[in-house]
Amino acid sequence: MFFGLDLFNAPGALEKKQIDEILSLSEVTQQYNITLTPEKAKYIVDSNKSALHDTGRIEFGESVAKKITLKFCSSPFVSKYNIERVVEKLLEVFYYTKNETKDSISDDRLIDIMKKGFDGECKGSVTLLFDWVITKIIHEYNFSGLKEDEETSHIEGEESNE
């Protein structure tokens, strides 16, 4: 829809803004010896777009790709060699979980849970993160009527970069 709203294709200027936002994280990521190149930043932005598309969502607020990149750059399992691919997989898991919990879990809370699981019991495996942590979270939010303030088992001792 060229003259309307193509929901899956943000205008070029907005996409450039998203890439710049990822690049602006370099100052933080370099503390962990991770350099974000324009190519890597574009890869992350494109991955975000694909993950949104695949899960049937659109983004309107602060970029989740930026938040995930910032949060996970401190992980011992993330390096300059794999950051963009790890973020790509995490984004898929993130939006999937948002759908399955019907948005009842906030972005920041979900990212915190994912980070703790990824660094802890899953030892850097996104597949295990999905199997062990995410499926449980989805079940708890859907069948136990869990509210964010009640949920504790997955976030104890969580850390924050922000």
Partner: protein, 331 residues
């Protein structure tokens, strides 16, 4: 206004779609060079940001994305609201100029104000209608005027789903009109309904009831019109016109065999122009007798054009089902 004369007539109005006005206007304006690539890019960005702003108001706190079906719903509502604002411009060229010079957010706010005002006017119109509603046993007539409209005012959300048809106006008004949606759809239906109701109020309910019972003979069902969604107005109008043609009392709503024969002799096999001339003449006489306002008079004029077209297209074959006559049906 002088500036506006320079580019009038550039946009092909035939290519503008009432139900998709914003997009079709933007495309036409772009094709004519009234808006540039830069304008299109700016408009798209502003639309996207506006969508984001509205999404923020309806999502849980701390959520920065939304499911696509919800977003699509909101984006359709935005485009509908903008379309309504742009349709208010004196010409499509003026609308294109407005699109070029004004921020989307401002146009959207003005569109919402327009929607809100129209909603208030529609409710006022509906309130008056309910007081003056023609008394009939037609279920769809009464149900549409009362329950359907009531449901519309309860369910319609001009802020998030302005484009949505929250109800189906079951009663088939005679003037079909353009394909519209949301508030425009229901306004169009109610406007027609009000004119038809105004006309029907000139007649006695029992006389209309007796006339419509003749439909039983055509459709083979007892009290057919009570449950079937059929247009009452057209049968009453054609009967009244027929009686005026025969110099009979239109309030009687009763066409006798000899009246029908006379009507048939005037209309059967005639071309559209001749049928129209006969009906115009009858309408002139009828409007002198009835109490009707200017708007209803216009509606009657439209109606006889449509009626003339239907009669001439069928080569007079449909006269028996247009001018209901007991003798014809019983025979």
């Amino acid at each position: 206004m002088n500036n506006e004369i320079g580019f009038s007539g550039l946009i092909d109005k035939a290519k503008l779609q009432s139900n998709n006005y914003f997009s079709s206007l933007s495309k036409q304006a772009y094709d004519c060079g009234l808006i540039s690539d830069g304008d299109v890019e700016r408009i798209k960005i502003e639309l996207f940001l506006l969508l984001g702003e509205i999404c923020k108001t309806i999502t849980e706190k701390g959520t920065s994305s939304i499911q696509i079906d919800t977003a699509e719903e909101i984006s359709e509502s935005i485009l509908y609201t903008l379309s309504l604002r742009l349709k208010k411009c004196p010409s499509p060229e003026n609308a294109a100029k407005l699109l070029q010079n004004e921020k989307i957010g401002v146009l959207f706010e003005e569109g919402q104000k327009e929607l809100s005002d129209n909603l208030i006017n529609l409710r006022a119109k509906w309130t008056v209608l309910q007081r003056k509603l023609f008394k009939t046993q037609s279920h769809s007539f009464t149900e549409s005027a009362k329950e359907t409209m009531k449901k519309f005012f309860t369910d319609y959300d001009y802020k998030l789903s302005a484009h949505k048809n929250v109800v189906l106006f079951d009663y088939p008004v005679y003037k079909e009109g353009e394909k519209l949606s949301g508030l425009e759809y229901i306004s169009q239906k109610l406007d027609c309904f009000v004119s038809e109701n105004e006309f029907l109020n000139n007649f006695d309910s029992q006389a209309v009831h007796c006339l419509l019972l003749l439909l039983d003979g055509i459709y083979g069902e007892e009290a057919f019109y009570l449950e079937a969604p059929i247009n009452i107005y057209m049968y009453v109008l054609s009967c009244a016109l027929g009686l005026v043609m025969c110099e009979k009392d239109p309030y009687e709503l009763k066409i006798e065999r000899e009246d029908y024969d006379f009507i048939e002799s005037r209309l059967a096999g005639q071309n559209n122009k001749n049928v129209l001339l006969v009906l115009y003449d009858a309408l002139d006489k009828l409007t002198d007798i009835l109490t009707i306002d200017e708007k209803t008079r216009d509606y009657l004029l439209f109606s006889i054009r449509q009626l003339a077209s239907e009669i001439s297209l069928s080569n007079g074959e449909n006269l028996k089902s247009v001018f209901l006559c007991r003798d014809n049906i019983l025979s």
